[in-house]
């Protein structure tokens, strides 16, 4: 097992190194001088030269990369050009709404996806299954930004149940700030419940076809006990995998949804950075989100070792 963990950690380091290389070179794809691109059309030659010197852009590419990696190793993601502060600080300031939005959305997605997936599997081929399967397909086809815009019109503008946009003033209590997240979380939760629903249904169908379920039924056990006690326990283990997959979807969805609802989160920061061509922020956000994704997936794989006695490496 230790060998497995060590090999997975080694694999993760390699993947993260490649991620770092990709992130570094993506910004170098820009045609022309990156300093000129960052500063815009009105920059003078002196400004460009200054920025090139500040960021070491006048040095060879390999040297720049090595320097960047060294800084990364010290937790330094660079300095935002527009915000005039470290990227780590900018990301940390914007982390709260994104963290809670992702967490609530995941909760809502699981609350919808798991029970509906179980029901669809238990009543396979029946109307319940068809309705939930159609819902899953529809959920995966709805653009979250459009869904958010429409729900905002109905529930925030029309009925006034939720705040229209924003995250409340900085001084307001946490509960007030979280109130602003309800509607965006419902939007993201519904859209992303599709994957969990499908996964739970498939996993339950697999387990319901196994011998131990047939034995349980043969012993005269009630169907509810067979499903909830015997099938669900086993079926939910693979569903954990979906948490890792959903994380990437939720972060992607959060970027767009934050923009619709005017939430000052990481997604909004990234979109603003793109519009301002603030490359250090784009690089930093890409790197941190990719690292989180890799870490979450690794943790889930390791979690299997703890919760499923059948899994041995």
């Amino acid at each position: 097992m230790i060998r497995y963990i060590a090999s997975r950690l080694g694999g993760m380091v390699i993947v993260m190194l490649i991620v770092a290389i990709l992130v570094f070179f993506i910004t170098r794809l820009a045609p022309g001088d990156p300093a000129a691109v960052m500063l815009g059309e009105q920059a003078t030659a002196a400004d460009i030269a200054n920025l090139r010197a500040t960021y070491g852009l006048d040095r060879p590419l390999v040297v720049q990369f090595a320097y960047w990696l060294k800084e990364l190793a010290h937790g330094n993601l660079g300095q935002s050009i527009f915000l005039q502060r470290p990227v780590t600080q900018a990301l940390a300031e914007r982390a709260e709404p994104t963290f809670f939005l992702t967490l609530f959305s995941l909760g809502i997605a699981m609350l919808i996806g798991v029970p509906c997936g179980i029901a669809a599997a238990v009543w396979r081929g029946k109307a319940v299954d068809q309705v939930f399967s159609a819902f899953a397909m529809l959920g995966a086809s709805i653009p979250s930004f459009w869904f958010g815009l429409i729900l905002m019109q109905i529930f925030a503008v029309g009925l006034g149940w939720f705040p229209v946009a924003g995250y409340g003033d900085p001084g307001v209590p946490l509960s007030d700030r979280l109130h602003h997240l309800v509607l965006p979380a419902i939007v993201l939760g519904i859209v992303n419940s599709a994957l969990i629903l499908r996964f739970t249904r498939a996993s339950m169908l697999d387990v319901l076809g196994e011998d131990h379920i047939r034995t349980a039924r043969a012993k005269g056990m009630s169907e509810a006990r067979v499903v909830l006690h015997h099938a669900l326990r086993n079926a939910l283990i693979p569903v954990i995998t979906v948490v890792g997959l959903t994380f990437a979807l939720l972060i992607g969805g959060a970027i767009v949804t934050e923009t619709v609802f005017g939430l000052p989160g990481v997604g909004n920061l990234v979109v603003s950075a793109v519009l301002r061509r603030d490359y250090p922020v784009i690089q930093g956000a890409l790197l941190v989100i990719a690292a989180l994704y890799v870490l979450i997936n690794l943790s889930i794989d390791l979690l299997y070792l703890v919760i499923d006695p059948r899994v041995k490496y």
Partner: protein, 294 residues
């Protein structure tokens, strides 16, 4: 002992495996409905100049933000442009971007996947890069790429193709790994058939089905992603009537003119839904576990 002549009914002998597979696929209601919606959308996109009542770019400020009515089925937008005409023309751009992304990502993904699955030395390096690229959420990587390349239709296609190539590569590699070990590949090698011929005739034929499934899903994701990029203002220029740009420009007026956002959104949902219906049908049929149940 008299031997009976073996006769194959003409109706059966004329049906190859492809015809039988297609009959099975389109025998499913979900696939049929999905394919029908998609066909109508594609035909509407092609015939857009002839079936739309107005020029999608024609400004008529006096008619701005009018609700759906006989003269304007889907109403008008903030500049008095006919929303129905724009939605139909939008299908041209959105479907074209989706189709281009599928073509480019499938071509690149097949090359990488076959190379990784067939040549052991290339497997680890290619797959590590694929893993790394798949660590980024799709839309985030696309945003970063468009930010660097510049916002244009071509660059959106390039960015989304880069985003979706790893998905194809992973699927193709998995299938190529299986096919590599099959006896007929060994037989082909023994017959002296060149590696390239084995790869592109024998391996490719055997990985075609999973590629087809993946292609339909990528088409759907690309339509959604393009709309997302355009909505954020980092996709195609706002002047082009894609469904995403239409929703983006409607944001300021949506409070009192919901139709400006509603109809392009429904178009996106319909396009994506129909593609997923077709893709799901293909996948169910090609999955040996599920095939028995159908």
């Amino acid at each position: 002992m008299a031997t009976l002549p073996l006769r194959v009914p003409a109706s059966l002998s004329s049906r190859g495996p492809t015809a039988i597979l297609l009959r099975k696929i389109f025998g499913r209601k979900v696939v049929l409905v999905g394919a029908a919606i998609l066909t109508v959308m594609a035909l509407a996109a092609i015939a857009a100049p002839w079936i739309t009542p107005y020029d999608p770019m024609a400004l008529k400020v006096l008619d701005r933000l009018q609700g759906p009515r006989a003269a304007h089925w889907f109403g008008t937008d903030e500049l008095g442009r006919d929303v129905f005409s724009r939605v139909v023309f939008g299908a041209r751009y959105s479907l074209m971007i989706g189709a281009s992304v599928v073509l480019v990502s499938v071509a690149c993904g097949v090359l990488l996947g076959v190379a990784a699955g067939f040549f052991r030395r290339l497997d680890a390096p290619i797959m590590r890069v694929v893993d790394a690229m798949m660590s980024f959420p799709d839309i985030l990587l696309a945003i970063a790429l468009v930010a660097v390349l510049g916002a244009s239709m071509t660059n959106v296609i390039i960015a989304l193709s880069i985003v979706y190539t790893p998905r194809v590569a992973r699927v193709v590699r998995a299938s190529a790994l299986v096919v590599r070990e099959l006896l007929f590949i060994e037989a082909a090698r023994a017959l002296g058939i060149s590696t390239w011929r084995i790869l592109f005739i024998h391996v490719l034929q055997n990985v075609a089905s999973p590629i087809l499934v993946q292609a339909t899903f990528i088409f759907a994701y690309a339509i959604l992603a393009e709309a997302g990029l355009s909505f954020l203002g980092v996709g195609v220029p706002p002047a082009l009537p894609t469904w995403g740009t239409m929703i983006a420009s409607s944001q300021q007026f949506v409070h009192h003119a919901i139709w400006v956002a509603l109809f392009p959104g429904i178009a996106i949902v319909l396009a994506s839904l129909s593609l997923q219906m077709v893709g799901d049908g293909f996948r169910d049929l090609l999955d040996p576990k599920l095939r028995k149940a159908l």
